[in-house]
Symmetry: C2
Subunit: 357 residues, 2 copies
C-alpha cells in the first residue's frame, strides 16, 4: 500500500486495466450492482484508500481474531425499492442479508447492529413496520440486535428508509470456507430455486403481473449451513448469490480459486414463473438476485451426503448438484446448454435490476 | 418484550408519555438529533420491535461476549453536510465517530466495517477523497477496515455520500464504564474546548465567517482513554458529546445514574470564537456537537491524577474539571451560572444543527 494514499486522488485516465470506470468520472447505478463496476470501485478507490490484508480477501464477510475468538464480521446496506414487497420487507432483508453473509463463513450470527437513515416525512408507521419485520427476522435467525443508530435527512435527500446492518458471529473450529480451497472435481450445489427475490421486487416496482404471484425467497441460512457442516466441516466454499445472482457468485469463486466452473443449465432449478418473467423482461435468471439461497463447493466424496442433508432441511428441499469445478478454463464459468452447446457465464458489468437489496 | 411485537403497528395516540412524537405521524428532522425525539423513536418504535437487554443499555456501544472475549460493538451512520469542512471530512468523521463510541467503553477499536450509499452522479474524485480521509483516520487510530459494502441510489434519492461504520474492540479486564457506576462526589471532567465541530460544519454550510476559521475537533480518542485508564481502571463513565453536545451527554449520564449533575458554567472551556458564533446564531454551546472530546465521571480521589494525565496528552491539553455528581436533583443536570444563579440544562428535544455528523 503506498504511503498516505489518501492524499492522492485517483485519475481514471491512468488506470491500466480495460476499466469501464475510465468512462465514468461520476458514479453510475452500476457501481452498486455487485458486478464488474462495483469491483472496479473497490480496486481503484476503496482498496488503495483503506484496504488491508483482510479486506483484500473480499469475501462476503471478514475473518478476524479478537481476544482469542475467531470471528466473522460483515456489513451490508439495504436500499431496496419498494420497501415492502411480496415475501419480505427491507427489515427482514436487512437481517437475513447480513446473517447470510456470516453464514457463508460457517458462522452462526450472534449480534447485529442496525443503522437507519430516514427521510424526513416518511410515515412513522412505515418505520415501525420495517422495524417490526427486522425484529421478527432477528428472532427467527436467533440473532440479537445490540446497538443502533438513527439519522434523518431532509425530504428529497434520501428515499424513505435505508438500513445498514453489521453482524458478528463465531466461526466453529475446523471450518475454513474460501475459494482457495476449491479443487477440480468439487460438486457445485445450489440450495434451491433461483431468481425469486429479484423478480418479486421487480414485479411490484414495475406493477407487472405474471399470472402467479412470485414471492421473495428472503430467509436466514444459518441453520441450513449448520446442517451441512454437521455432515462434514470439509466444505470448501459457500456463497449466497445476491446481487449479480448465481453468475456473480460462481465467477467470484472461479476467480478466487483459480479453477474453472462448469454448470449444466438444465440442472439449475429455475421456477417456471421466474423463467417466464425473465423471458418477458429480457433478463437472464442466472443474474437475478436471491436472498435465501446458497451455492456450495463440496468435495466429491461428500457431495451425496451433503445434498441429502440439505434436502431434509426446509430451506434446502429443492437443492441440486448443478455442476463441478474443473481444471480447464481456470477462473472462468462455463454453462453447458440443454442443446449440448456451451456458453461463457460472465461476471455482470453493472446490474440488471438496480436497488434490489 | 411482548410476543411478536413486529405485527403490532404503534399508534401514537395510545402512547401515555407526554410524547412530542404523538404530534408526528411522520418523521421530522429532530428524530435524528440525538435528543428527546430520537429517544422517543427508540423507546416507542425500535425497542418494542427488536430491543433486547443489551440494546436497552443504550450506551454509545454495546458490550457483548463472544468466544470468551469481552467486546464492545458499535454502529454509526454519517450524513454530514457538506461532505468536506474545516478540520475534517465525512471520511475521517466516520472512523472517529465509531472509534470514539468504542473508546467510551474503554475499548481500543480493532476492526471497522464500512458501508457507502452513493448517489448516482457524485464525482468519483469526491468518493476517493472521502475514502482517502477514512483510510488516513483509520491508520491514525490504529484500526483496520476489514469489510465493506457499496450501494448506489438514483440521483435525487440520496445526498452525495452517506457512510455507515461499525466497529469492534476488546474491553480491557477490570474496566466497567457505565452511568450506573456514578457516585455523588465524582468529578466531571471534559477533555477540552467544546462546540468546535458543530460550529465548523455550520460555518461552511451557511457560508458564515466569524473572523477566525473554526476547525472541527474531529479526532480519535482511543489513545487518550488508554492514558486515563492507565492512571486508574476505576473511571466510572465516559461519554463523547456528539449530537446534542455536552448537554445531551450529561443528561444521559444523569438519567442512567440516578444522581444529579452540577456543573459550573464558567469552568466549561468554550473557545471565544465558538462563543461568538453561537451568540450570532442564537445557539447554546452546551448543545453543539463535538467529535474529539469526551466527558468523564471520575471518583474524587483519582480526579487530580486523571486530569494531570489528560493534560499531558495532546487531545487533553485543555482538560478541565467542570463540576461533580451530586445527591440532590437526581437525574437532572443543573448549571451554576457566572452570576451565581442556577439553570436546568435539559435534554434537547430535537437538534439545533441538523446533519452535523
Amino acid at each position: 500500500m503506498p504511503e498516505s494514499p489518501g492524499r492522492v486522488l485517483p485519475d481514471p485516465a491512468q488506470w491500466t486495466c480495460p476499466a469501464p470506470l475510465r468512462d465514468h468520472p461520476r458514479v453510475v447505478m452500476g457501481h452498486g450492482g455487485g458486478g464488474a463496476l462495483s469491483a472496479e470501485l473497490v480496486r481503484h478507490v476503496f482498496a488503495p484508500a483503506y484496504g488491508g490484508p483482510v479486506l483484500a480477501g473480499l469475501g462476503d464477510s471478514a475473518e478476524i481474531t479478537l481476544g482469542g475468538a475467531r470471528l466473522a464480521f460483515s456489513t451490508d446496506t439495504f436500499v431496496v425499492r419498494p420497501l415492502f414487497f411480496p415475501g419480505g420487507t427491507i427489515g427482514d432483508l436487512a437481517v437475513n442479508g447480513t446473517v447470510n453473509d456470516l453464514a457463508m463463513s460457517g458462522a452462526r450470527a450472534a449480534y447485529l447492529s442496525c443503522g437507519f437513515i430516514l427521510e424526513e416525512g416518511v410515515e412513522i408507521a412505515a418505520v415501525a413496520r420495517a422495524a417490526g419485520a427486522l425484529g421478527e427476522a432477528a428472532r427467527t435467525a436467533g440473532v440479537e440486535v445490540v446497538t443502533g443508530d438513527t439519522k434523518v435527512v431532509e425530504a428529497g435527500h434520501g428515499d424513505g428508509i435505508f438500513i445498514n446492518t453489521s453482524g458478528i458471529g463465531l466461526i466453529p473450529p475446523g471450518v475454513d470456507l474460501r475459494p482457495q480451497r476449491v479443487r477440480p472435481g468439487d460438486a457445485v450445489i445450489v440450495s434451491g430455486e433461483i431468481g425469486l427475490h429479484g423478480v418479486a421486487v421487480m414485479s411490484v416496482r414495475e406493477g407487472l403481473e405474471f399470472g402467479v404471484e412470485i414471492e421473495s425467497d428472503c430467509a436466514a441460512l444459518g441453520g441450513l449451513v449448520e446442517t451441512m457442516l454437521a455432515v462434514t466441516p470439509e466444505l470448501h466454499v459457500l456463497r449466497d448469490p445476491t446481487r449479480g445472482g448465481l453468475a456473480a457468485a460462481l465467477n467470484e469463486i472461479a476467480a478466487g480459486s483459480g479453477t474453472g466452473v462448469l454448470i449444466r443449465e438444465d440442472d439449475v432449478p429455475v421456477p417456471p414463473a421466474v423463467a417466464n418473467a425473465c423471458a418477458i423482461l429480457g433478463l437472464d435468471p442466472f443474474y437475478v438476485a436471491n436472498e435465501g439461497k446458497l451455492v456450495a463447493f463440496v468435495p466429491r466424496e461428500h457431495a451425496d451426503a451433503v445434498l441429502d442433508a440439505m434436502r431434509a432441511h426446509p430451506l434446502g428441499a429443492r437443492a441440486a448438484v448443478i455442476g463441478e469445478a474443473v481444471e480447464s478454463h481456470p477462473g472462468m464459468v462455463v454453462a453447458r446448454t440443454g442443446l449440448g452447446g456451451t456458453r461463457v457465464v460472465d461476471l455482470p458489468i453493472g446490474e440488471q435490476l438496480p436497488r434490489i437489496c
